[in-house]
Symmetry: none
C-alpha cells in the first residue's frame, strides 16, 4: 500500500525467457540489420523492421522500448562481430610485414561482414545524445589496434606522436576500405596489395620523422 508504483525505462523492456521469444528478438535484430543495410537510415522504420522480421509491431515494442534501443542492439551485435575478427589478427610475435598483412586482411574481412550496414551505422545513424562521436568504446578499441602496430615499429613506445600516426593510419585504411566497399571492389587483390604498400610505406616513413 505504501510503496509507489513506478515505470522503469531500461534498454531492453523485457528479457526474453522462453525459447520462442529469444527467437523473436533474434529475428527482429536480424531484420533490423538487413533493413538498415539495404534501405539506409531513411528506410529504417519500426513497422518495416517488424514486417521483415515477420512479427507484429507490438512484439517489436515488447522487447525494445523504442527505435533507439533497437538500433543500439543492432549496433552492439555488429560491432561485437567486428571486434571479434579484429582481436584475432595481430596476435603473436610475427615479423612486421606479416602483421601488416594480417591487419589488412582482417580489416577487409571485417568490412565484408556487412559493408552497407557498417557504413550506415557509422555515417547515417544520428547520435542520440547529439554527440558527433558515438560508438565510443568501439572506436577506441579499434584505434588501439592501430596504435599498437605503430608502437611496434618504434620500440613499443607509446606517446602523443604514436597516437596521431595511429589515427592517420586508421582513418586512411578506413577511407580506402569504405570506398572500395561502396564500389564493390573489396575483394580485389590489387586493392589489397596497394593497401599493404600504403601501410608499410607510411609506417616506414613516419618512423624517422
Amino acid at each position: 500500500v505504501s510503496t509507489r508504483i513506478a515505470k522503469s525505462r531500461v534498454p531492453m523492456r523485457k528479457e526474453p525467457r522462453q525459447a520462442r521469444s529469444r527467437a523473436t528478438v533474434e529475428a527482429i535484430i536480424e531484420a533490423g540489420a538487413r533493413v538498415l543495410g539495404e534501405l539506409g537510415w531513411a528506410g529504417f522504420t519500426t513497422n518495416t523492421v517488424a514486417d521483415i522480421a515477420g512479427v507484429s509491431i507490438g512484439s517489436l515494442y515488447q522487447y525494445f522500448p523504442d527505435k533507439h534501443s533497437l538500433i543500439e542492439a543492432i549496433r552492439r551485435r555488429h560491432f561485437d562481430d567486428v571486434l571479434s575478427v579484429i582481436r584475432q589478427s595481430g596476435e603473436g610475435t610475427k615479423p612486421l610485414s606479416e602483421l601488416v598483412q594480417d591487419l589488412v586482411h582482417g580489416m577487409i574481412e571485417v568490412h565484408g561482414i556487412n559493408p552497407a550496414l557498417h557504413r550506415v551505422l557509422l555515417d547515417e545513424v544520428p547520435a542520440y545524445d547529439g554527440s558527433r562521436l558515438p560508438h565510443g568504446e568501439f572506436v577506441s578499441e579499434y584505434l588501439d589496434h592501430y596504435v599498437k602496430l605503430v608502437a611496434r615499429c618504434r620500440n613499443y613506445e607509446r606517446n602523443a606522436a604514436t597516437e596521431i600516426v595511429g589515427q592517420v593510419l586508421s582513418s586512411a585504411v578506413e577511407g580506402v576500405i569504405h570506398n572500395a566497399a561502396r564500389r564493390g571492389t573489396l575483394k580485389s587483390m590489387e586493392l589489397r596489395q596497394e593497401l599493404i604498400i600504403l601501410v608499410c610505406s607510411y609506417l616506414g616513413a613516419s618512423d624517422h620523422q
Copy 2:
C-alpha cells in the same frame, strides 16, 4: 574528363529569367545549404528552408519541383565550389614534393569551406535513385586530380595501375580528412604534416612496385 558538369535533366521547373527570380533561387539554395549543414538531413524540411530563405513554401515549389531537386541544386553548388578550389592547385610544373603539399593544402582548404555541409552531403543524404554512387560527375573530376599526380611520378603514363593507385590515394586522403573534420582537428599542423608524409611515402613506394 574534366569538362564542366553538364546540367542534368530533372531540375528546374522554370528557369529564372529575371533578376528577382534568380535572387529568390539563390536565397533558397543558400538557406538550404545552411539548414543542411546546421541541422543535418533530419532537420532539412522544405518548410524550414523556405522559412530561413524568407520566401513562402509556394515559391520554393515554384522553382524546385520537389525536395530532391533542391538537394541536387545544393549539391551542385557546393561541389562546384569545391572543384574550383581543386582546379587551382596542381597547376604549373612544380617539383613533386611541392605538388603534394599543394594537394594536401588544397584538400584541407576545400573541406574548410563548409565541412558540416560536406559531410552531410556525402554521408547522410540518401541517394534518391537507390544508387550507391551518387555525385558521379563530381567524383570523377575529383579522382582525376589524384590520378594525374600519380601519373606525374610515372612519366605521365596512365594505365589501370595508375587508376587504382589514384583511387587508393584519394580515398586514403579523404578518409583522413573526413575523420579529422569530424574531430575538429582539421587545422592541426601535425595532421597536415602526417598527411604529406603519407602521400609522399606511398607515391614513392608504389612507384617501384
Copy 3:
C-alpha cells in the same frame, strides 16, 4: 430501498470456487484499486494491474472478461466499503444535532478510506454505457441516508419536497468534501465545523418553507 446491491449480469467469466482462485481475484481487485488510486485512469492498464497483482495477464482475463468488468468489481468493492460505514452512522434515536454530527463525521471518514480512488472512480472513469449516471445503486442508498435525515426533521414525512431537499443537501456535502479532499484539507477541524453549521442551518431553514 436499502437492500443489498444485487450482483449485476456481466461480471465474472468464471466464479472462483476454490480458495486459491478467490485469493487471485482478491489480489487483482486490490492491485486494481491501488493502480487506479495512484496512477489515475490514465495509468490504469490491465497489464500494469496484473503486474502489481503478481499474476499473469492471462490469469486476469481468466476472471475478468474485460477491463470494464474489472473496474466494475473495483467500484463495487469500494462502494460496499463506503456504504458499510454510512450504515453505521445515523442508527438509533439520538437528538438531531447529534445525528448531523454523526453524518458529517461519517461522510468525512468515508472519504478518508481511499480518497484518491474515490475521486478517480467518480470523476475520471468513463461510463461505459454512455450513461451520465453510473453508480446507480450506490447513489440511491447513499441519497436515502440524507432523505431520512431530512424526514426526521419533518415528522418522518417523505414526499417530493423531502426528496429535493435531500438531494440538495447530499450534493452540497459531497461538493464540500470532494473539494476538501482535492486540497488535502479533509481533516481540518474548521472544515468539519463549518460543514455541520451548513447542514444544520439548511435543515432548520428548509423546515419552515
Copy 4:
C-alpha cells in the same frame, strides 16, 4: 551564416492571418469543445476533433502544436465565457437577499453554457504539470466572488475565517449545481429556490459563529 537556426515552441504554432484560417481555428476549438463535452476526455482524440471540425489533421497541427495546447485553448475560451457571466452578477449595492439571488442565478446560468464540457474540463482532463490544482487563475477569481459575498455579511472584513466560509460555500453550491447538471434538473425552479435557501441560511448562521 552565424546565428543558429532554432525551433520555437509557443502555445499557438502560427497566428492565423487570413480570414480563412481564423475560421479554421474557430472551427477546431468549437469542435474540440463539442467532442470533449459529448465524448469526454477518453473520446477526445485529435483525429476525431479534426473530423468533426471538418478539417484535416494537418490543419489542426498547423495551429496547435499538440493536444495539450488545444485543450488549453478550449479551456481558456470556456472559462472566459464563464467568468464574463460571473463578473456581471454581484455588481452594485443591492440588499443581501438580492445579491444571493443574483449569485445563484448567475451560477446556474453559467453552468447552462455547456455543463458537460465544464465537468469534463474540471474533473477528467489531466493536469499536464501533474498538479492537482489546475485552472489556477480561474478558480481564484471564481472563489473571490464568494469570499466577497461572505465579507459583505461581516462588515466587509476579510480574514482567514471568511476565506474558509467562502470556500465551503462555493464548493457546496458547485456540488449542488454539478449534480443537478448531471441529472438534467438545472432549470428546475425548486432547485433554484432551495439553493437560495441553502446559501442564505448558511450565511446567516455562519455569521454569529
